[in-house]
């Protein structure tokens, strides 16, 4: 379904994606995993033909560089946060995309129904919550029933409930046989949704693996966010990565995928190398209804930290 060969994208002196190749079969689900600046978003934009790049990308056999418009007609795109004219009403926004994709309005209505936004057509886009905006983006992505859905950190700005809704919708899409490519900072999402993972680092493909291989005891994997003293974040990310931890370095701290009963390990690992952890937070699983387990983890932390 997707064939990417030697994709290279350079912005002046920065090599954002470096000679990256992969294949994705129809119905497959591929996660892009890596820290901020690893090149995930740039790769997604290259796949969509939004950024011109070296190498070739074929979607459903169509060369993106030569026939970008036709290739994109087979792709639904969900950005990190829906950016559409805030003054527009939800109904007119989805009508615009239905016309752009040459589909009947009834299909737009069905698409809204599928994400639970039917009845909100008169609301302005600016008045929608983050979760509703992402569901609208999903509705727009699915409007023409494309075989491929590309998502760029679709849940990063959502709360736990919003995340759960989006992940549920994506699971349904998987069941329908859609091909998914998504970038994520959350191991629980990758474990739930992906059957393959591309681990990226500084634009390079470091590893092409499965969620099971990346997190062997997948059922007990939790995401933990570490808040490191300013200035030490990059060093901490490097140390953890070298220590074999699957980490993501985002705007809001370092996210580490860790087994349920070994939560203090990465903090100890950093403490041994002279890096202090200012604060931490256990992130809720996509389908976890509990509050963040900060209290429990704090107790464990006081027992294990020097």
């Amino acid at each position: 379904m997707i064939e990417a060969r030697h994709i290279t994208k350079q912005f002046k002196r920065v090599l954002a994606v470096n000679d990256l190749s992969f294949d994705l079969e129809p119905g497959g689900s591929l996660a892009l995993w890596g820290s901020n600046g690893a090149g995930k978003t740039t790769l997604i934009r290259c796949l969509l033909g939004v950024f011109p790049c070296k190498g070739t990308v074929r979607i459903d056999g169509i060369d993106v560089r030569r026939s970008g418009k036709h290739a994109r007609a087979r792709v639904g795109y969900v950005p990190q946060e829906l950016a559409f004219h805030d003054d527009a009403r939800l109904g007119s926004a989805i009508r615009f995309f239905a016309e752009l994709r040459r589909v009947e309005l009834i299909q737009a209505a069905r698409s809204l129904e599928a994400v639970g936004l039917r009845g909100h057509e008169s609301k302005r886009v600016r008045d929608l919550s983050g979760g509703m905006k992402q569901r609208l983006a999903l509705a727009i992505a699915m409007i023409a029933d494309p075989p491929v859905i590309v998502l760029d950190e679709p849940t990063s700005n959502l709360d736990s409930a919003g995340r759960g809704e989006v992940v549920d919708t994506l699971l349904k899409l998987r069941e329908q046989g859609k091909t998914l490519i998504f970038a994520s900072h959350r191991p629980d999402e990758v474990i739930t949704l992906a059957d393959r993972v591309l681990v990226m680092e500084q634009g390079r493909l470091v590893q092409q693996t499965t969620p099971e291989a990346l997190w062997p005891s997948r059922s007990s994997i939790r995401s933990m966010r570490l808040y490191i003293e300013q200035g030490d974040e990059y060093r901490a990310a490097e140390i953890l990565r070298e220590g074999g931890y699957a980490i993501n370095h985002g705007n809001s701290g370092l996210t580490v995928a860790i087994e349920q009963h070994r939560k203090a390990e990465p903090m100890n690992h950093l403490a041994e190398r002279g890096i202090g952890v200012r604060d931490f937070e256990l992130l809720r699983d996509v389908h976890d209804d509990d509050e963040p387990e900060i209290g429990i983890a704090t107790e464990q932390l006081s027992e294990v930290l020097p």
């Binding site: 939004v50 418009k69 994109r72 007609a73 950016a83 004219h85 016309e99 752009l100």
Partner: protein, 299 residues
């Protein structure tokens, strides 16, 4: 032989797909244009410009009528002449700033990426925005001219309305040329504020500085009259002004030796030459904008 047949089949397929591709191209442009037009109508800036232009146009019409003593021909002709300076100030400002905000505004809001991720080519998006803004601009001008013409027809009859109509056409073409320049500025700018700033600078250059520069250049370099004429008509505003004066059947002698030279040298073909210059200002910046937008490495 089989290769030849295959090539033939491919060519036949390409030929059969071409009309569908053209239709799809036109539909995408019109869809974007419609959205752009709606957005322009709800834009406060656009409404403000329309209001300002309409008020000034009606004001000039009143003044012209007061001076002409209700004689129809004088009413339309004098109004057209009176409107000329107003148009040269307001219309380029409207069109340049509207064009400057088009792509840069979408880029700044983050909506450009989302649109480009849809089944839409960059050329379709740019042309769609241009067409939508062009229609909105022309509608805005028509409101101003229309109310002004209505007032003149009511008070002074319809004699000389042809010249007035030509003024509307020339003004629309001038607006398109300035919109084209604005769009070119927009594709190069990351922020709408920067694009608007550059467009204001260009407006200042075309309206005021080019005249001053030409005068200074003429004195300093002792330019010949044909050189001054050539330099003057490079500025689309000057080409527009001369074209309107010729169209009003007025003598270009009012423009001094350069006007006399133009009348003597080009005679009846002068309106065509001037129209060609303004048309080039419509086409070239837009073509350049499309080229740059398509070749951009990023968004």
């Amino acid at each position: 032989m089989s290769t030849i047949n295959l090539n033939g089949a491919v060519q036949q397929r390409v030929r059969s797909e071409r009309p569908a591709a053209c239709l799809s191209f036109a539909r995408s442009i019109m869809l974007i244009a419609r959205r752009e037009f709606r957005d322009a109508l709800s834009s406060k800036w656009f409404l403000l410009y329309t209001f300002a232009f309409t008020t000034l146009a009606i004001g000039v019409s009143f003044l012209s009528l007061a001076g002409s003593g209700e004689h129809g021909f004088a009413g339309f002709g004098k109004t057209a002449a009176g409107l000329l300076n107003l148009i040269m100030l307001v219309v380029p400002l409207m069109a340049l700033t509207a064009g400057a905000g088009s792509i840069a505004g979408e880029r700044e809001r983050g909506t450009l990426l989302y649109l480009l991720a849809q089944p839409l080519s960059r050329t379709e998006l740019l042309l769609g925005k241009f067409v939508g803004l062009a229609i909105a601009l022309i509608c805005s001008l028509c409101i101003g001219f229309g109310l002004s013409a209505g007032l003149l027809a009511w008070r002074a009859g319809g004699v000389g309305a042809g010249a007035f109509l030509m003024l509307v056409v020339f003004t629309s073409v001038l607006a398109l040329s300035m919109l084209s320049v604005g769009v070119l500025i927009s594709v190069q700018s990351r922020r709408a504020g920067v694009a608007t700033g550059i467009s204001l600078f260009v407006w200042l250059g075309l309206v005021f500085l080019s005249d001053l520069g030409l005068m200074a250049g003429t004195v300093l370099f002792k330019l010949r009259v044909q050189e001054v004429f050539a330099l003057a008509i490079i500025n689309p505003l000057q080409a527009f002004k001369m074209n309107v004066i010729v169209n009003l059947n007025a003598s270009l002698d009012v423009l001094g030796p350069v006007g006399m030279y133009a009348s003597n040298e080009f005679g009846g073909s002068l309106p065509w030459l001037l129209t060609s210059v303004i048309t080039l200002w419509c086409v070239l910046p837009l073509a350049l904008a499309i080229l740059i937008f398509r070749k951009r490495g990023g968004i």
